[in-house]
């Protein structure tokens, strides 16, 4: 039996720091112009690794004096994204009605590396727990409502927006600052390098020659409130969200994409929209052989005959896979694409893979009039998530 659509959630503004620049404007202009944020990693030793490139943020802005102090890079990224967000929109609620919900795959793991090392100190041990940066963000915001850290691996940024939506729909908060973050550090680069997941080529989502991903670092936040409470301009709306577990493998996606399909169908149902309403898909699109094929097949099953006419992109070619930040950045991209009437191109896609035969946006950005977007995410451990978003069209 069909259930009624869930209450839509207004997204009032966004903030970000990415390898493409220090704020959301730089992120968007970089996407539209096809800027490449991939470079040789300089912040830590990579000479012993197969791949030493990624989407590294070369310089962080100085934080405002009221920001919590500390040397945790993950917290600094998150706080810089928060300052970008707060420069655009104010939370406008009592402190105990402001919640935080952020996703991360790695948290402050670099602090744990420091704590384990010689001379490790208490602040490093406490900061090494993955939820420490979310509490730093809550302190910066003066938020005294729920503080959630979501860690569904590389789907974290989508799961966090979903958890935030539930806080709002149920009245547990009036506004939520939600999003995701992750940093490039030796810990994660060593891990993906050992798994042979990283490419020595460029990232090529959906390309015949795709051979793996590159990692990136970023933080992205949005300010969310109930649609009925929203005042003033908004960036768009989160119409629906859902998750699904593969229950198949610790590190590889289910070859049939069953968890992703379940998440995508449930998110559309949550939003109260059907496949015919979908105007655009922001794919996870990591550039690994398996991921891109699975996503393509799932989109065909869920969207049916329309799958071949709905534009699809991946923005990981120019950013790298920003892990916990990825899905939030992709959600922001969907909303900006609707507002600006432009779909960013899939950087790195040059030769179509016959097994990936949808309408991928490449080689250049394309004008488009869109309302409803879908964003898909997959993560280690069989975590899948999908978001359905509606842009505030011009």
């Amino acid at each position: 039996m069909a259930r009624p659509a869930a209450e839509p959630i207004a997204i009032l503004g966004a903030g970000a720091v990415t390898p493409l620049g220090a704020d959301v404007d730089a992120f968007w202009s970089g996407l539209v112009t096809g800027a490449d944020g991939i470079s040789r990693i300089e912040r830590f030793f990579v000479d012993d690794l197969r791949v030493g490139r990624g989407g590294e943020i070369k310089k962080l802005r100085a934080l405002r004096p009221e920001a919590p102090r500390g040397d945790c890079r993950a917290s600094r990224l998150l706080l810089q994204a928060a300052e970008d967000l707060l420069a655009r929109v104010a939370p406008g609620a009592a402190p105990d009605r402001i919640a935080v919900a952020v996703g991360t795959a790695l948290g402050g793991v670099e602090q744990l590396e420091r704590a384990v090392g010689a001379g490790g100190r208490l602040r490093h041990a406490a900061g090494g727990l993955y939820e420490a940066p979310a509490h730093a963000l809550a302190r910066r915001l003066g938020a005294r409502g729920p503080v959630l850290t979501v860690s569904t691996a590389c789907a974290s940024g989508a799961s966090a927006l979903g958890a935030a939506a539930e806080l709002l729909r149920a009245g547990a908060a009036d506004v939520v600052v939600a999003g995701g973050y992750d940093i490039l550090c030796r810990f994660v680069l060593r891990g993906f390098d050992a798994l042979r997941s990283l490419t020595r080529d460029r990232v090529r989502p959906f390309d015949r020659r795709r051979s793996g991903l590159l990692l990136g670092e970023a933080a992205a936040l949005v300010l969310m409130t109930r649609e009925r409470d929203a005042r003033g301009p908004r960036l768009g709306r989160l119409l629906g969200h859902a998750s699904g577990s593969d229950g198949a493998h610790i590190a590889a996606p289910d070859p049939e994409g069953r968890g992703l399909e379940l998440a995508l169908r449930a998110a559309l149902a949550d939003a109260g929209v059907g496949p015919d309403d979908v105007d655009f898909v922001s794919a996870h699109g990591t550039g690994t052989p398996l991921n891109d094929r699975i996503e393509t097949e799932v989109l065909k099953r869920v969207l049916g005959p329309r799958a071949w006419t709905v534009p699809v992109n991946s923005i990981k070619g120019g950013l790298g896979h920003t892990m916990g930040a990825a899905a939030t950045l992709e959600a922001i991209m969907c909303l900006l694409a609707a507002r600006e009437g432009v779909l960013p191109a899939t950087l790195g896609l040059e030769e179509r893979d016959p097994a990936c035969d949808l309408d991928y946006v490449a080689p250049a950005a394309r004008p488009a009039h869109l309302r409803v977007s879908v964003s898909t995410s997959l993560g280690f451990g069989g975590c899948n998530a999908a978001l359905v978003l509606e842009g505030a069209t011009p």
């Binding site: 384990v116 041990a125 727990l129 503080v147 860690s151 050992a194 798994l195």
Partner: protein
Amino acid sequence: MSAPAARAATMGTRVAGVGLLTGWGEGPGALPADAARAAGGRAVIALAPPALDGGRFRRATRECLLGIAAVEALLRDAGLRREAIRGPATALVYVTAAAYAAANVAFVGAAAGGALHFPYTAPSAVPAEVAIEFGLTGPYLILLGGAPAAIDALWQATRLLERAGCERALVLAVETFAECAGLWARGRRLVRGPLVEAAACALLLPGGRPAAYAAAPGPTPLEALARRRAGETLACAPLVALALAGGARARGPLALGGEWRGRRAGLTWAGR
């Protein structure tokens, strides 16, 4: 903005069972009257990993094995077979404060490689192994933090049930400390001992009493009881409290609470 809602109520849910393993043994009956006294000065009360059959587990961490054992304990408590939870109608909500730290420290210390070990450094490894083992393919959420995160997890599970995202929800928590005892000793301002390893799983079903989600000003009696009887179990503490209250057999009001990094959270089911 809407007038502040003092409490975010949900539709009725009921606890159909709680599986509990702690360093003291299985079930609430194994808990001492006073954990601090029973610890006798020991900083960590460890929980031995269960012996599980199958080559699939040869690389799984102790945390993963404990997660699986907690679900098996739940099935025993609820009188259910594995088939009852298999499939897309069961949601899995996992929560931990630190049951990834041991894997992370081991990975940091490893000289090279680690391809097989790296996926187990993620907090998502425990629910992944549980999902694989029990065939759970429904909605999925992982929250990190101390006891308030477990309260959040229970509440998010009730939301999943309310939104008809699933027919039942497992809320699973695992905490281990032994491998990182030195780190915890440095972080003793964050936690009070004794640190007691635990793995717990609650089964929530729709129907029954509505739950109200709101911070309580101080520890609830049940929260204090769980702390006194079990010791510091971080994210497992609210599930320890549920087990102490009788799990599926609890009749009076159930007021769960927890505090971590200065934040309090609470979840209250009215009496029946």
